[in-house]
Structures are given as C-alpha cells and as structure tokens.
C-alpha cells in the first residue's frame, strides 16, 4: 500500500508517497529509518506513524499490505 507522507514530512522527503523499505517490520524500525534517511525530520517536535488510519505504537508490526502514514505534528483548527 506504500508509505504516505503529509505536511512538513512530505516537504522534507520531497515526495508524498514512498515504498516501505524491505526488512522493516515494526513502526519503531520505520521511524529510525525515516530519521536516518531524512535527517530534516529530526527537527520536528514529534513524528507519529499511523497504520491503517490508526495512530500506532513503536512495537506494532507493519507489512507492505498496510496503509502506513507519516504524521508530523498536526496543526488543524
């Protein structure tokens, strides 16, 4: 399903969708990979991952069949 990026995370990565890299099996691993690959993300106050449209904790397993999204600090309203 790919990895969706929004807001400033999209701007930092320069794209709105990425492919989930092979070998990444948890939310925590994905966060580490994102912060290493796009160091600009380290400036954010928070970086959340949503799996299938739900906020996810670090030890949650992920697979390529999931809809995964990178959620920088929200700023609606």
């Amino acid at each position: 399903m790919g990895l969706l990026l929004f807001g400033v995370a999209k701007d930092i990565a320069g794209q709105s969708i990425l492919t989930l890299p092979e070998g990444i099996t948890t939310v925590g691993e994905l966060k580490s990979w994102l912060l290493a690959t796009y160091p600009g993300l380290q400036q954010l106050n928070s970086l959340m991952i949503a799996v299938n449209r739900e906020y996810a904790v670090d030890n949650q397993p992920i697979a390529t069949s999931d809809e995964i999204a990178v959620i920088p600090p929200v700023s609606g309203g």
């Binding site: 807001g7 949503a50 449209r53 739900e54 999204a69 929200v74 700023s75 309203g77």
Partner: protein, 133 residues
C-alpha cells in the same frame, strides 16, 4: 447522538447550526476558528490546509464517540476546511446541542481541543514578508 463530519474546501457556520437544531434542545454552543491576519506579530497573507482525509474523518468520529460517552449531547457537527484560506475565512466549526447548557460548553471545548491535538490536518502559513512555515 447525531453526528455530522465534514472536511471540504468550503464550510459554513450555517450548515452546522442547521444540523444541530432541535426543538428538544435548549442549549447550543458553536466554536468557529477563523484565519487570523497575524501570527505572533507577523502579517499573514493566507493559510493552506491539507488533510489525511480518511484518517481525519475517522479521528473526528472517535471524538464524537468520546463526547457521546462523556455527556448527554444530542447532536454534534465538526467541519474543517481545506485548501487556501485567507484572513477572516472559516477554518473549523464545532457545534453541539444539548438539553442543558453547561455540558454543551464542556463538550464543544473538549471536541475542538482534541481535534487540534489529534486529527491529521496540517496548515502552512504564508506571511506577508514572503516566508512560509
């Protein structure tokens, strides 16, 4: 509890008022968030809002469910605008109706506070000096 959720380029206070109206309800509280012409002393020319739409609607539904669990609210409407918005434009409307007024204030404030904290919507601010945040 009846629920209206909407994320669209144009939203109005009137559609929220129309939705929450009920002759059984004596108290209506409506919060409207508008684009300000100034952020911390810097002139704003416009905002751009984007959303992760499906998840945003799902998170708004959770807020509605939390409201229904905590208070005897009869109707709630949560609307958020997306796209380019200019000073004075409406960004968000949260409206609730209940039989009595006190809980309507509590529920409305809870809903907008939680929306701002959890719902995946982002704004970009365009300042008169050319910077964008």
């Amino acid at each position: 509890m009846d629920v209206l959720l909407k994320i669209e380029p144009e939203i109005t206070i009137q559609e929220a008022l129309d939705f929450i109206h009920s002759p059984a309800c004596g108290g209506e509280v409506v919060f409207t968030g508008k684009v300000r012409n100034d952020t911390k002393g810097r002139a704003v020319t416009k905002l751009f809002y984007e959303s992760y739409r499906e998840m945003a609607i799902s998170e708004m539904q959770k807020i509605a469910d939390d409201v229904a669990m905590q208070w005897d609210i009869k109707k709630i409407a949560m609307l958020h605008a997306i796209g380019d918005k200019y000073p004075g434009d409406i960004a968000v409307v949260v409206a609730v109706s209940s039989i009595h007024r006190g809980i309507a204030f509590d529920a409305c404030e809870y809903a907008i506070d939680t929306l701002k904290a959890r719902v995946p919507i982002w704004k970009k601010e365009f300042f008169a000096d050319g910077t964008i945040i």
